[in-house]
Every structure is written in C-alpha cells, then in structure tokens.
C-alpha cells in the first residue's frame, strides 16, 4: 500500500512539473506572452472600443497596437486575442489606463467593478482621461521607434512641472465612492510634426491638459490648466512646478492651504474661508527688472488667488466637491451629522473668501 501511495505521489509530481497550467489547461507560455502596458477605453455609439499597446519589445521591436469594438471589456479582450493568435496577450502589467471623454462619462463605474473582479488589472494603475478619444492617444502616439507607454512614462514628470499630479484608479474610485468628486489628470494628443524632425519618431505627443473632474456617475467636466493648479494647491502637495508671474519664471517650493468654515447663529455653514501660502524662488528673470520683491509677491498672490478661485468656482458650479471642502468645513461630529447629508445642496451657495500669501525667495537682485 505504501509503495502504491509513493507511485501515485511521484506521478502527481511529474504531472505538475510543468506548472499547474499543465493540469488545468490554463498554461501561459512565457515565450508567447505579450505584455499589454497601456489600455485605452472609449464609448462609441453605446459600444466599448478598447485600444491596447504592448511596450516596445526587446531589441527595439515596435509595440503591438490594436483596437476593437465589443460589448464589454472581457469581450474586447477575447476579440483582441483573436487578432493576435501567435501571442498570448497578458494584462497583468498594464501601467496606464486611458479613458476617453465619453467612456469616462458613461463607464467609470463599470471599469472600477471590472478591475475589482479581474484578477489581472490593478487598482493602482495610473488613470488618465483623454480629451477626445483614448484610441487617438494609444494609436496616434505609437510609431516604429516609439509608443504610447514610453510617452506616458514621462507624463508624470511633465504633469508635475505644470503643477498637476497623476492619480491612480484607486484614488479616483475611493474619492468618488465616498460621494466626493475626484480629480484625474487629463491629457490630449498633440501633433509633433514641425517640432520633431526624425520621421520615425513623429508620432503624436500625449501632453497633460489639466484635470478632469469625476463623481460617482462619471466625468463631470474639465478644469482649465490654471484652475487645475488652483485645485492642486488646495488638495495636493504643490511643489516643484514653474509659473510665470509678470514675465518672471518662479519655481514653487512649497504650498499650504487652510480651509475653514464660518457658521451662522444656528450653527449652519454660512461661508468658506480659504487661506493659501505659496513659497517660490525666482528661476528666471525676464520681466520688469525694476519690479520690487514686494510687488512681485503681490503679483504672485493675485495670480494664485485667481487660480484658486477658479477651482473653487468650478466646484461650486458643478456641485462636485472634488476639493474636499466638506471634510474641512464640517470639522466636528455634530456639524457632520447636521449638514453632511445636505452638503451637496449647501456648498454651491456658500460665499467663499480667498486669501493668498505669496512669498518670493532668491529675489536679492530684484528692484536694485
């Protein structure tokens, strides 16, 4: 009996030597795996259009770029696999998820649910909303010597230089599920002909274009680039980006924002106070050389105030609290209980005052 058990055990071991796929039939041959690195989703006439790009292969082989229309994401995955039978498309390493404008409007919840259920894609995948079609970005930015993933890899740095941050699907999902709005980096394609003269690299560029605003139902709208910087100052960690004030280029070193509520006699929210502090350093002096540091600081404060106000106005106009005003204003349990459930009705009507304290360092040669 013992010998029989040993024989069975050895046979089982031999059977699984090739991995569990040898038994289950779900075998993944590493040689045939094609890692999809960027996935774009569009909503076209009520149908899903999925565009994917593998990264550049070893020895600089061009990326495989494909697109198909389907009834759903899994259906699209199956169809794309049919287009490329020699490869096994593998989605576990998708780095960027691009949602076209319409897809972000119609399909956000479906995408979040799919990623939750899918054993492949991660919640922490970087998410971008494309102004227009995601397909244009995935297909248009790929060419013989470059592909969309390479272009997107540098986007985070580019975005930071503009004062914006790339967000993940998880961050967007967590914010929208909580009933607040979410910010998500918006991108658009830009032709490079006339800027790049190497023909094999003349694919479209994917450039940051401010923030998209999303709520639990999907895309609410886009913030213009300046309001996007204002939103970043209020919600994020604004540092390391450049801005031009009175012709001078300043680098933002640090920023702070304090949001407080004012309350009437009955304890109801009556107004919102916003105080921002921005520390900058002069990077390039191209404007008025006679301008005093105080005047430059005043101009900086005005600029930042305009941008922050634009972000606050957008939040109030859309009724979408993507700036997290609720948590800051309703700062006690009693206030949250009394007004939290009505916040979306209340906050668009609240008057907002904005104060900005702009500081400019490295200004020793100004006004002399």
């Amino acid at each position: 009996m013992r010998r029989f058990a040993i024989i069975i055990y050895v046979c089982l071991l031999l059977a699984v030597q090739g991995g569990c796929g040898a038994l289950s039939g779900d075998r993944k041959d590493v040689e045939r795996l094609l890692l999809i690195q960027t996935m774009g989703l569009d909503s076209v006439d009520g149908q899903l259009e999925m565009s994917v790009s593998s990264g550049m292969g070893p020895e600089e082989t061009p990326a495989l770029v494909m697109s198909t229309q389907a009834n759903g994401i899994e259906d699209a995955i199956a169809r794309l696999q049919n287009f490329s039978p020699e490869n096994q498309l593998f989605y576990a390493h998708v780095q960027y998820l691009l949602l076209g404008e319409d897809a972000a409007r119609d399909m956000l919840d479906g995408v979040i649910q799919w990623v939750d259920r899918s054993p492949t894609l991660r919640m922490d995948t970087d998410m971008l909303v494309v102004k227009g079609l995601a397909k244009d970005a995935v297909v248009g930015a790929s060419q013989e010597a470059t592909d969309v993933t390479q272009r997107l890899a540098s986007l985070d740095r580019q975005a930071r230089a503009n004062g914006w941050t790339m967000h993940t699907l998880r961050e967007v999902a967590a914010a929208t599920a909580g009933g607040d709005g979410a910010l998500c980096l918006a991108v658009q394609t830009a032709p490079t002909k006339g800027a790049i003269f190497t023909e094999s690299q003349q694919a479209d560029a994917v450039v940051p274009a401010g923030y998209a605003v999303l709520d639990e139902n999907g895309l609410v709208g886009f913030l213009d680039p300046e309001a996007s910087v204002g939103a970043e100052i209020l919600t994020g960690d604004p540092a390391g980006f450049l801005l031009t004030v009175s012709g001078d280029t300043l680098e933002v070193v640090a920023g702070t924002a304090e949001i407080k509520g004012e309350f009437d006699g009955s304890g109801a929210p009556a107004a919102i106070q916003v105080r921002c502090g921005i520390d900058t350093g002069v990077l390039e002096k191209s404007g008025d050389r006679d301008m005093s540091p105080e005047a430059l600081e005043a101009a900086l404060s005005d600029t930042i105030k305009r941008w922050v106000t634009a972000a606050l106005d957008a939040a109030q106009e859309t009724g979408c609290d993507f700036l997290g005003l609720k948590g800051a204003v309703l700062d006690t349990a009693a206030r949250r209980d009394a007004y939290g459930y009505r916040w979306r009705e209340l906050f668009p009507a609240l008057p907002v005052t904005v104060e900005v304290d702009g500081r400019v360092d490295r200004s020793y040669d100004l006004g002399e």
Partner: protein
Amino acid sequence: MDSELITRKQFSAAMVVSLLSPLLRLMPQTAVCFAGNGAWLSFLPATVPLALLGAILASFRRHMRPGEGMGGLILRWLGPVFGRLALLLFAGWFLFYGGFILRSGAERLVSTIYPSSGQGMFAAVTIVLALAVALGDLRAAARSAVIFRGVLVGALALVIALSVPNMDLARLLPVSAKDAPSIALGGLPLASVGAVAAGFSFLYGYADLPKSGRWTALPLGLLLVLGGLICASVLAVFGPELTATLSYPFFVMIRSISLGDMVPRIEAVVIAAWVGTDFMLCVGLLRCAHEALRPVFGYPKPDGRPMLDLGAGRFLLWMEGAAVFAISFFFDMPPWLLRQWSDQYIPLASDCVLYGGFLLLWLVTLPRRKKETSRGV
C-alpha cells in the same frame, strides 16, 4: 510534562492559523458595513464576548480529566442521552462548517487568482490533504502550524508594510464617541471568528494546556490585533465606501503591491499561502468532529496507528471527510449567495452553536460543577 502532548505554543499556533481563514473572509467588509471608518477599532469590543467565552471554557477545563477533551466532559456531565445529542449537534456543526470552509476557500482562490478554473478541484485537493493529515498524528499538524503561523503573520505584516505608501490615514478618521454603538456592532464579526477557537476545546485532550484560560489571551489577542490592522490598512487605502463595495478589498490591495521592478506582483504567492489557513481549519474541524463523535460510539483516540488503519473508529474520519466534501457541494451556489452565507448565516449559526451551546452547557451544568468543586474534583 507529557512529551506526547501538543504544547501550548503549538496549540496556540494552530488556533491562530485556523482562525485566519474566517478572519480574512469576513474582515474588513463586514466590520465596515457596521462601523464605517471606525471599523479598525472594532477589535476592541470583540474582546468582551471572547473574554466571557474564554471564562466559560476555562471553567470547563478545570473539570476535565487528564487526556479528556470537551467531548468526554459533555458526555460525562450530560449523560448518555443528552450528552450524545449535544455531541451529535456539535459534530454536525463542525462538518457543516468544514464543508463551507472548503467551498468558500476554493471560491476565494478561484475568483481572485484562477478565474477560469473550477472550484471542485481545489475543494477536492484540500479535503484529501486535510484528511491525510487528520488521519495522522495531530502533533505533526500542530508543529506545522507553528511554521504556518510565522509565514502567514510575516506575509500579512509585509503586505501591510508595503501598502503604507498607498495609505491615507485621514480615511480612518473622524471617529467620535457617537460612533461607539456602531463600532461595538462592528466587533460582532471578529467575535464570531474568535469563537471558532472554542470549538478547538474538543482537542484539549491532546494538549498540555494550563487549567486557567489566560493562555488563550495571546493567540486571540494576536488575532484581534491582526483583524484591526487588516481593517485599518484596507480602510486607509480604499476608504470605507469603496471597501464596502469591493469583492475582496484586502486581495485587491495585495494586487497593487510590488517589490520594485524585480517582483512586480506578489499576490499569487501570498494568497496561495492563505490556502494553508483553510487547510489547517479543515484539519481542525475534521478532528473536532471526530472528537465529538468518538465518545458517542465509545471509540479510543485515533492517533498512533497507521494512516490507512480503519480500526478504533478511524473509519469515522474517512466518513467525516466524505461528509465535509459532500456538504461543500451544498455551497455550490452563485458568489453573491455564498457571500450572504459567509457574512450572515454562517456567523449567526456559529454564534448560536458556540456561544449559545457553551453558555447553555455552562448553565445546565452549574449544579454539577459546584458539586464537583466542593468535593475537590
């Protein structure tokens, strides 16, 4: 100390490893449904019912004879009729719960890692392995639990540590005194999980355990702290609302973890390690069921015999394994229904059998215990 017995350390390890299975299934979602963003504090109220249950079990333990488990004690105290009925009830519950664990473990593995696979195969492999271990020496299983505990607690700690960059601690707040009732309710799932340890009292006869119940504070404390940490980390990563809507939030969190570019994904290894918790609980439940049935039919302890020996009531273990596997097919149901069983019916039934059963036993045996205590037994 009898070297043939399982040590306290090994018994504690077996408890922790086994209880991690229901813990990871229920937490953090069920606690979040009750307590919202205060769910990470729900391990605190769970200590109250668990301490009470621990005190009840300790009072039973003081009356157990050397080598006797809960099965022998129940039969001795309740007599041949009511004792057998009570033991059959407990055995039935262990087998039913074993069937559920088998299926829910398979469902979790399939839905998170191998979506194109069947659950039956995973259930079959688990029960075959669990039966093989249950037929062997219980000490071997307890020794392996010490290793499993190290691996699993280490894996959990690693997962939580690697998730720190994704955490926003503001999502854990605000929590105020007004949230206390909901946090107390949030402790119910953890209290249910901890109560499963009470079932292990049927195995006390194999272990060298102190008469006082204080030794249980360490394994249960570790379990509660792990429950709190899991809740806190998931809440800090996803927030309460998203946590409540995700299918397996802790697994979704693990999917996002990478160890740099070298190991971009670690979830398969971690989740496969968790199969060990289902396996260990299945072994424990099979032996608990056997320890409940053995006194009913008057069979001796099954240890120390060849694995395939059917004598001394060991055929019962095979039948118990078959019963658990058969019951697992009862849970061959749509995932949403299995979730309903997992989150509502099973914890409720478990609480009724374990809290209710042991409390009832404590009440009806009160005069007997007083008598035995006064006689110095």
